[in-house]
Every structure is written in structure tokens, then in C-alpha cells.
């Protein structure tokens, strides 16, 4: 008999909307099952209901979850004891006011499994096992003093302190940089194996899941689309949706012909330094971007890639250096720039929903640059609006809606359209697909490539995802700790010998096949 069994589970919002519909699956002891799906698929909701928990405003409306002998109603008593949970964002899931040790051992003390001294000893042992720095003293620290990767591993220690039978990992590496992710994944996998725990792994990332899971359950819109062993799903997907997911995860080359790039420098950045307070963020950045080019800027969090975009856009004033656009110096401070400067450089932010004012409707948002830069009003503006909306492949009906009523992909298109409305020479795209689901993000990338071709745009594409950058950019620049460590032409990327850091980045991207994690470990070891 299976150890964990989910039968016809149904979760509904209090408003009556179904979130999870009739989900059934099972899992044997010591195995790892992955719940995979995009946002809104109900994967986290199912994971939480394995602990008999439903978030505020939702409730478990039917079905059962059985864990060993325990049924749905018994599960709350097992939380933190026999079932442990590892949350997506460790930074938010740790209480900022308590030190790490108190939080790690809390579950053990609450359930009276051991006394404080025993628990602390066990925790330190786990810190060692999870390869945390300063394992003996890290417990005295507070969450704000630690990095995301460390916190994520500490959360694993928190989960394993009571030697649970079932561990639920809810997108535990999504918030991490790719190089950190590898180490954390490895630590997780090791500790799950060592302790013989049964695990449920929730993720949107097929490649990651491929490294962790024995079984995969594919979810979409609250329904199970397909389930099977990892090998079955990866090699012989049956369901259309699964195929779609697979396709989006495969890198596609969208690089367009070099012919678009004119040998005229459009953007020149010379000796730019920038800092927040005393902390240097950008160190002596120099590069040139040709008109019509698509420059990929890649780096992890803290590399200074967003600051670079902000310096060019004028939001951050550099401590030294200059930025030229088509030969003209762009004044450093916003207040010194003229309207034409503003028009020629447009920035598109990562989080489209916060980049569009929720108080205005789409037409108002798009009409503003038309009137502001081009003095377009009335019918002319209306015509241009429709053209813009068409350009980003949205129906004209969205014009009267507010962005709060639109989906993530739609909002990002509006965001692009606003930038295009200015008829800019340079568009700065700051992680424009990172907040989107893979499938939606892929469509945006296609749109970008197409717009570039049609409008002869110059685009600076900033991303943490090296495979995306490789797929669409014809010029690649790698930022590491505020400095440019590598700048190559996209077409030469596979040929040149890379900087060590670039190598690390490249090798850290999980591949869509089982066993990659172990192989990489063998390789780097």
C-alpha cells in the first residue's frame, strides 16, 4: 500500500471558485514525487493540503489525504513533527525578529521531541550536513545577516530537525541564483536520501524536477493532466500541455540575421562607476552597442545589471563616467535631460504589473507618451493606439481595461507597447520575462525578436538566465560583482574560451534529463 495517498482532493475558495479539482495520486515511502505546473495550477495548494492546511479564504472541499494511518483530519497534529515544509522564499519565511537557532529548533520543542540542548546539537549537526558556513555559530545570527541560499538550506535544517516522514519542498530554489541553486539542490537531495524521507517537490521548472523526482504529476488550472515516472514524462509525454511545457523549456535559437546590426555605435558607456552609499555597485563599465543590435547583459543578483540599466535611463546617477547615445552625451541626472533624451531611451521593467499604474486604463497609459512626445491627439492618437496594440498582438478591447484585469503576459505586452509608443532608439529590457511562466515568457521573447526585426529596434536585454540570452542576443556581456568579465559576439559564444565565472554559469543551468546533477558533481569534483 502506498505511503501517501491523495484521493479525489478538492480545494475551493470561499467564494466558491475551484482551485484544485479531483486530484488523486499516491507515493511510496522513500520516494520523491514532483508536482509541476505554472502559476495558478494549484500545485502549492495541493502541497499545503498534504498537511491538512488551506490558506485563508480557501478550504478543502472534498476528498482525502492519507499519510500512513493518518487521515485528513489528523494531519494538522503532524505538522512540524512527522510532516515538514520548506517554503519557496526562505527570506520571507524566517521571522526577522528571531535568531536562526530559535526558529530551526522550534518545531522540536513545540512537539516535545527533545530538549533544547539536544535540539541545538541536532541542528548544528544538520548545519554541517547542509554545508553551511560557520555551522557552530550560524544559529546565533538573524535572517537579515544571511544570504538567500544559506537561508534556504537553514530552512531544510528546520524541516529535518524532527526527522519527518514526509518533507514538502515548495519551489525551494526558485528565488535563488542559478549558481546557488545547484548547491542547494545537491544539499537537499543528499539530505533527503540520507534521512530516508519521503518527499513532495513542487516546481515549475522541469529541468530541476528531473534531477529530484522519481514521479512527476503535471498540473494545469487545478487539474492533473498527466502523471508517471520521471522517465515516462520526460521521454514520452502524452498530454498536449506536458508537451507544451517541454517545448518551452527547450532553448530555441531566435537570433536574427546579423544584417540588422549597423556598424554605427548607438550606445557608448565609458568608465561608469556607481555606488549605493559606500558600497560600489558598478566598477569601471565600458562597452559599446551598435545600432540595431540586441545586447544581452547577464549576471546574478547583486551583479549590478539592473543598476546599469538605471544609470543609462538616468534613475541612478553614476559617480563617474559617461553615457553617450548616438554620440550625444546623456546627462547623468534626470533633471538635466531633455525631452528628446527621454524619448530616445525607454525602459521596460521586470514586474509589469507594478510598472503600469493601476489607476489608469490601458488607453490612458499608452496615450500619454503619444501626447507627451509626439503631440498626438484625437483621431491620430487613436489610430496610433490601435496600431501599437496590434503590434504587441493584443485585441483592441484591452484599451478600455485596467492592467489589474489583465494577465501577466498581457501586461508585459502593454508595457512594451508603452515603450514603443515613444518611438525610441534604445529599449532597456530589465528581466522582462523572469516573472512570467515559461510558456508565456517564450511568447514574449518571440514578440521581442519580431519587433526588433520589424522596427529595427536596438535592445539591451538584461537577464539572469544565460540560456535565454544565448537564444536571442547577438551580443553577450557578463557582469560579475559590478564588473564586465566577458563581452562576446553571440555567434562566437560557443567558440571562445570563457571567463571562469561564465563557465560556472553555463555549467549551473540544469539540463532537462535525469542524472545531470550527479554528473555535474562528478565533473566539478
Amino acid at each position: 500500500m502506498a505511503y501517501l495517498e491523495v484521493n479525489h482532493l478538492c480545494v475551493k475558495a470561499d467564494t466558491g471558485k475551484t482551485i484544485v479539482h479531483d486530484a488523486s495520486f499516491s507515493l511510496n515511502k522513500g520516494e520523491v514525487l514532483a508536482l509541476i505546473g505554472e502559476s495558478g495550477s494549484g500545485k502549492t495548494t495541493i502541497a499545503l493540503s498534504l498537511m491538512g492546511y488551506a490558506r485563508r479564504g480557501t478550504h478543502i472541499a472534498g476528498g482525502d489525504v492519507r499519510l500512513g494511518e493518518a487521515h485528513l483530519k489528523d494531519l494538522p497534529a503532524l505538522r512540524g513533527n512527522r510532516i515538514a515544509y520548506i517554503a519557496q522564499s526562505a527570506a520571507a519565511a524566517f521571522n526577522p525578529s528571531l535568531n536562526i537557532m530559535d526558529q530551526v529548533i522550534e518545531a522540536a520543542l513545540v512537539h516535545r521531541i527533545m530538549d533544547r540542548a539536544q535540539a541545538e546539537a541536532k541542528a548544528i549537526e544538520l548545519f554541517h550536513a547542509l554545508a553551511l558556513p560557520f555551522p557552530d555559530t550560524i544559529g546565533q545570527r538573524y535572517p537579515h545577516q544571511l544570504s538567500g541560499g544559506q537561508l534556504q538550506r537553514l530552512m531544510a535544517a528546520m524541516a529535518f530537525i524532527t526527522d519527518p516522514d514526509l518533507v514538502i519542498l515548495d519551489e525551494p530554489t526558485t528565488a535563488l541564483d542559478v549558481t546557488t541553486q545547484v548547491e542547494v539542490l545537491r544539499a537537499f537531495k543528499q539530505v533527503v536520501k540520507d534521512r530516508g524521507a519521503t518527499a513532495v517537490y513542487v516546481s515549475h521548472d522541469l529541468a530541476v524536477v528531473a534531477q529530484m523526482a522519481d514521479h512527476i504529476v503535471v498540473l494545469n488550472h487545478g487539474e492533473i493532466k498527466e502523471q508517471g515516472t520521471t522517465a515516462e514524462i520526460l521521454h514520452a509525454p502524452k498530454d498536449d500541455y506536458t508537451k507544451l511545457l517541454m517545448a518551452a523549456a527547450e532553448p530555441t535559437n531566435r537570433v536574427v540575421v546579423d544584417a540588422l546590426v549597423q556598424p554605427v555605435p548607438l550606445l557608448e558607456v565609458r568608465g561608469v562607476n556607481a555606488s549605493y552609499g559606500n558600497r560600489p555597485i558598478l566598477k569601471d563599465i565600458n562597452f559599446t552597442m551598435q545600432r540595431g543590435a540586441m545586447l544581452g547583459v547577464i549576471g546574478e543578483s547583486g551583479s549590478g545589471k539592473s543598476t546599469l540599466a538605471r544609470v543609462i535611463a538616468g534613475l541612478v546617477v553614476p559617480t563617474s563616467g559617461e553615457v553617450r547615445l548616438a554620440g550625444d552625451i546623456l546627462p547623468a541626472a534626470l533633471s538635466a535631460r531633455e525631452q528628446e533624451h527621454f524619448r530616445r531611451v525607454q525602459i521596460v521593467f521586470q514586474n509589469a504589473s507594478t510598472a503600469l499604474n493601476p489607476a489608469h486604463d490601458v488607453a490612458q497609459i499608452l496615450a500619454r507618451p503619444l501626447a507627451f512626445y509626439h503631440q498626438l491627439k484625437g483621431e491620430a492618437a487613436q489610430k496610433r493606439l490601435l496600431a501599437l496594440i496590434d503590434m504587441v498582438k493584443l485585441p483592441a478591447s484591452v484599451l478600455t481595461r485596467r492592467c489589474t484585469e489583465l494577465s501577466g503576459g498581457q501586461i508585459q505586452r502593454i508595457n512594451l507597447a508603452r515603450a514603443l509608443a515613444a518611438e525610441p532608439e534604445l529599449v532597456l529590457c530589465d528581466e522582462v520575462t523572469s516573472a512570467l511562466d515559461t510558456v508565456v515568457g517564450a511568447a514574449i521573447l518571440d514578440l521581442l525578436a519580431e519587433l526588433r526585426r520589424e522596427l529595427n529596434l536596438s535592445i539591451m536585454f538584461i537577464s539572469h538566465d544565460i540560456s535565454t540570452v544565448r537564444a536571442i542576443c547577438d551580443d553577450i556581456m557578463v557582469l560579475y560583482q559590478g564588473a564586465v568579465v566577458e563581452h562576446v559576439r553571440g555567434s562566437d559564444f560557443d567558440q571562445v574560451r570563457h571567463h571562469d565565472y561564465t563557465e560556472l554559469l553555463l555549467s549551473s543551468v540544469p539540463e532537462l534529463r535525469a542524472g545531470w546533477l550527479e554528473e555535474r558533481k562528478a565533473r566539478t569534483a
Binding site: 534613475l315 527621454f342 525607454q346 525602459i347 521593467f349 499604474n357 489608469h360 515613444a422
Partner: protein
């Protein structure tokens, strides 16, 4: 919109609408002029001639209440409006203005808020004499700092939003950013704040009338009605109970409505 409100919200909305209508049309319905002496007896109980009894001078409580609604609701609404608008305006100025201006405004608001309002009212009335505009100014003045505090923290947060950053990179001026990008997103939360201020002002007005600083007689706001008839409290005269209930329903109604609106978000 109305249908989606919880029951308490609907009750609140109904009460608020009731008092608004009373404030607007009450005087038209009043059977007697506000200052007329209609009864030989004082503090008489509920009767067919005087549906809510008579007050300490033998005037019709029902009529006085209908007239009083205009002062209480009107004055409180106007003062709350004035306080909110001033608070929001200054907050926007602080949010988009220079840091020095922000600091200066904030310190000034701290100064204003630290002076006890009833005593300030006492001084101002002594200095300028009691009048409706002065009452309005006092009430507004008292609640500008509170409104400013909330509006400023909202505005400063909103000023960090990406869409404001975008507007900056598009070359929009300070005032465009303040009025077009930030302000529209403050309206909703400030509406709840406005409701709270309204309630506080109703109570402040009644406190002022206790100190003899209220509306000019023979007119009276609810607070003055309670105060002038307080000697009828021991005998349970409707002249004091009815205006007290009026204040209670008005404040509770507004609060219920606000809470319901907040809960929806």
C-alpha cells in the same frame, strides 16, 4: 458594488445615507422653526405633538435634531474633506519635493499634532470668536497632521513604485508624477482615512460644544444638543437620549461602512 458588501457594511451604508438625506432635507421636514418655544413644560417625553419630546427650554427636539444634522454632518464632512485634501496635498508635496521640504513639513506637522486640540480650539475661539468657518478650520487643522502622516507614508511608498520610476525615465515633471501617477492610487486608502477623520471630527465637535465652543445658538449640532440638555440625563429625557443616539448611529454607521470597504480590498 453594494451587493458585494457584507451585512454590516449595508447597515453602515444605509445609516450614512439616512443621515446624509436628513442633513440635506431635514430642515424642510421640521415641524417647527429651530428656536421656537412650543411647550410650556420642559423635558417633556415623547408625545404625538412632540414626537421626540421637548428640550430644556421647551423647544421641539425633533425639529432641532433635523436642523442639527446639517451642522454635524455638514461641518464634519467639510472639515474632514478639508483636512484630507490639505493632508494629501502637503504629503504629495513632501513626496515629490526636496528632502529639506519633506523634513520641514514633517516637523511642522509634528508640532501641530502635539498641541492638544481642544485647548487649541479654546485659544483660537478666544482669539477669533466662534463662527462656523472657524470651527471648520479648527477641526480641519486638528486632523491635517494625522491625514498628512498617513498620506505621506502612502505617497512615499507609491513614489518607489516601478510605474513612478518609469514616469521619471519618460521625463515627466514632478507635478505630473504627483497628481497623475501617485494621487489616483491614494484615493482609495485615503477614503477610509477620511471616514475615520469624519467620525473623530463629529466627536471633537461634541467635545467642543461641551466646552461651550460649538455652533451658535439657537442652532445646535448633535453634540451641543446633548450638552445643553445634559441636566435631563438623570430623568432620562428624550432630549438628551435622542441626540446621543444620533451621534452613535452616525459614527458607528460610518465606521461599519469603512470597515466593510476595507475588508473588500
Amino acid at each position: 458594488m453594494i451587493r458585494s458588501l457584507p451585512l454590516s457594511g449595508k447597515i453602515g451604508l444605509a445609516t450614512v445615507i439616512f443621515w446624509l438625506l436628513t442633513a440635506m432635507f431635514g430642515p424642510l421636514l421640521a415641524p417647527h422653526p429651530v428656536g421656537e418655544f412650543v411647550d410650556m413644560d420642559v423635558f417633556s417625553g415623547i408625545s404625538s405633538t412632540f414626537p421626540l419630546g421637548t428640550d430644556y427650554l421647551g423647544r421641539d427636539v425633533f425639529s432641532r435634531l433635523l436642523y442639527g444634522a446639517r451642522y454635524t454632518v455638514g461641518l464634519a464632512a467639510a472639515a474632514a474633506m478639508l483636512a484630507s485634501i490639505t493632508g494629501i496635498g502637503l504629503a504629495l508635496t513632501a513626496a515629490v519635493g526636496s528632502r529639506v521640504l519633506d523634513e520641514l513639513l514633517s516637523r511642522f506637522m509634528d508640532t501641530m499634532i502635539s498641541i492638544p486640540s481642544k485647548i487649541l480650539a479654546l485659544v483660537l475661539v478666544a482669539a477669533f470668536g466662534s463662527s462656523i468657518p472657524l470651527l471648520l478650520v479648527i477641526c480641519a487643522f486638528t486632523y491635517v497632521p494625522g491625514s498628512y502622516r498617513i498620506a505621506r507614508s502612502l505617497a512615499v511608498n507609491l513614489a518607489q513604485m516601478d510605474y513612478v520610476q518609469v514616469a521619471k525615465t519618460q521625463g515627466e515633471g514632478r507635478w505630473h508624477i504627483g497628481l497623475r501617477e501617485i494621487l489616483p492610487n491614494m484615493i482609495h486608502p485615503m477614503l477610509a482615512d477620511f471616514g475615520l477623520r469624519f467620525v473623530f471630527i463629529v466627536l471633537l465637535l461634541s467635545g467642543l460644544s461641551f466646552l461651550g465652543l460649538g455652533v451658535q445658538p439657537p442652532e445646535a449640532d448633535f453634540g451641543s444638543l446633548v450638552r445643553e440638555n445634559i441636566s435631563g440625563l438623570a430623568e432620562g429625557a428624550p432630549a438628551i437620549i435622542v441626540p446621543a443616539i444620533a451621534i452613535a448611529t452616525l459614527t458607528i454607521g460610518v465606521n461599519l461602512l469603512i470597515d466593510a470597504m476595507r475588508g473588500k480590498r
